[in-house]
């Protein structure tokens, strides 16, 4: 594998790498916002606090990734996070969908956390610092989210009418989850330059191998692997995103120059 840092000197590779980090940061920001909507509404106090903590962590992780990008660009972190047009965000559709019941939020958490583990491992293996070190650090924090999600999935699927409800949520989330692995020209550039030692396709296989046993142990059927909802990685989002972005950026936009 060519040295990652040497490869990054090339402006085209650098731009592709920025694009990749932006996906991570945007995924975290958007899902962090969705999780935070459970604050005060969780099914019990412990789960309410847990989902709020997970939200806080994902927002903080998003911030850490924006800081990495901003350090490279010389840009402002808040402007990067809150000051872009909807088409400039690179998160996948899964993260922006509304919380359609606790079972949907738990299914989404199961699917996304497994993805995060696989993706962070990839970034950690890239050897490109400081992103690799950050990825290593964050994967230890994400572990608890996955445990929480898997525990709740088992509990929900074991309830009297639970299995059907969780299966319906899974069927709804699945095409969006497959969209996490959408590939763009940036992926090809990075793979050719040796910056990322894998492709979205290989990442998807790793992910399916992780989530399949978790789902099947709960009695859930893994939906067909066709029909990914793509577009998010290119800035094409669903109708759920714009209202989310308005709410998410409302305070910052009221005074972009304010120091907090």
């Amino acid at each position: 594998m060519p040295d990652a840092r040497a490869a990054i000197a090339d402006p085209a590779v650098r731009a592709a790498y920025r694009e990749w980090l932006l996906r991570i940061a945007d995924d975290e920001l958007v899902i962090g916002h969705r999780h935070s909507e459970w604050t005060g509404f969780g099914p019990d106090i412990e789960s309410d606090v847990a989902m709020s903590s997970i939200a806080q962590e994902e927002l903080g992780h998003g911030r850490a990734w924006y800081e990495q990008i901003a350090a490279d660009d010389g840009g402002d972190v808040d402007r990067l996070a809150f000051g872009r047009a909807p088409r400039e965000y690179r998160h996948a559709a899964l993260l922006e969908q509304e919380n359609d019941g606790w079972e949907y939020s738990i299914v989404r958490l199961v699917l996304y956390e497994a993805f995060e583990v696989a993706r962070l491992r990839l970034v950690a293996a890239s050897g490109h610092e400081p992103a690799a070190g950050l990825a290593q650090t964050l994967s230890r924090e994400e572990r608890y989210h996955g445990l929480f999600a898997d525990t709740w999935l088992t509990r929900l699927a074991g309830a009297p009418d639970g299995l059907e409800r969780v299966q319906a949520a899974l069927d709804r989330a699945w095409p969006d989850a497959l969209g996490l692995f959408e590939s763009t020209a940036a992926d090809d550039v990075l793979r050719r330059a040796g910056v990322l030692p894998s492709s979205p396709g290989a990442l998807r296989e790793t992910w399916v191998d992780t989530v399949r046993p978790v789902l099947e142990q709960c009695g859930l059927a893994v939906p067909p692997s066709a029909g990914a909802r793509e577009g998010g990685r290119r800035g094409v989002h669903t109708a759920a995103f714009e209202p989310l972005l308005v709410q998410l950026t409302e305070v910052w936009k009221s005074d972009p120059e304010a120091r907090w």
């Binding site: 412990e46 606090v49 847990a50 709020s52 903590s53 997970i54 806080q56 962590e57 994902e58 927002l59 903080g60 992780h61 911030r63 850490a64 610092e129 400081p130 070190g133 950050l134 290593q136 650090t137 964050l138 994967s139 230890r140 924090e141 572990r143 608890y144 445990l147 929480f148």
Partner: protein
């Protein structure tokens, strides 16, 4: 290193030891947040390592460290940044730090979160976890079945 430089470096570590974590009654040095300190002339650069990357106290700690350093005579410039090259782990916490957290009623695992938890009040191992997610990102909540006390336990990031 000259005598003056040694004195300045000692003074810097004393200042760092005076900075407390806003969410725990413990100095950032005992918590193991200080990765390294570099002094050159009147310039000091401190690298910190966060326990949890999303901890809302990070900006507060950075601010406290910076102003404490700038208050030292002989320091003209102080930079404080968080580094991710080696993650924080429980072995960075000092014995004194552990004792301080214990006297605050916070149980601290020896090496890993996965170890059997111990009640900080009665020492019993007959405890049940109420939630992995407590009042701060670094704490989980438990109930002791022996003495019936609820308690909190320090939660480090999971093992790699």
């Amino acid at each position: 290193m000259t005598g003056a430089a040694i004195t300045l470096e000692t003074a810097i570590w004393d200042v760092l030891r005076s900075v407390e974590d806003p969410e725990l009654p413990i100095s950032i040095v005992d918590l193991g947040l200080v990765r390294d300190v570099q002094v050159e002339g009147g310039r000091v650069a401190v690298r910190l390592v966060p326990t949890w990357v999303a901890c809302p106290a990070l900006a507060v700690i950075r601010g406290r460290v910076q102003s404490a350093l700038l208050a030292l005579s002989g320091i003209r410039e102080a930079t404080v940044e968080y580094a991710y090259d080696a993650p924080w782990s429980l072995d960075r916490m000092s014995e004194r730090g552990r004792a301080q957290l214990a006297s605050h009623g916070l149980s601290v695992p020896r090496c890993r979160f996965a170890e059997p938890p111990v009640c900080p009040y009665c020492g019993s191992r007959d405890v049940v976890q109420e939630s992995m997610f407590g009042p701060t990102l670094c704490r989980a909540t438990y109930l002791c079945r022996s003495c019936r006390n609820p308690f909190e336990r320090f939660k480090p990031p999971a093992d790699a």
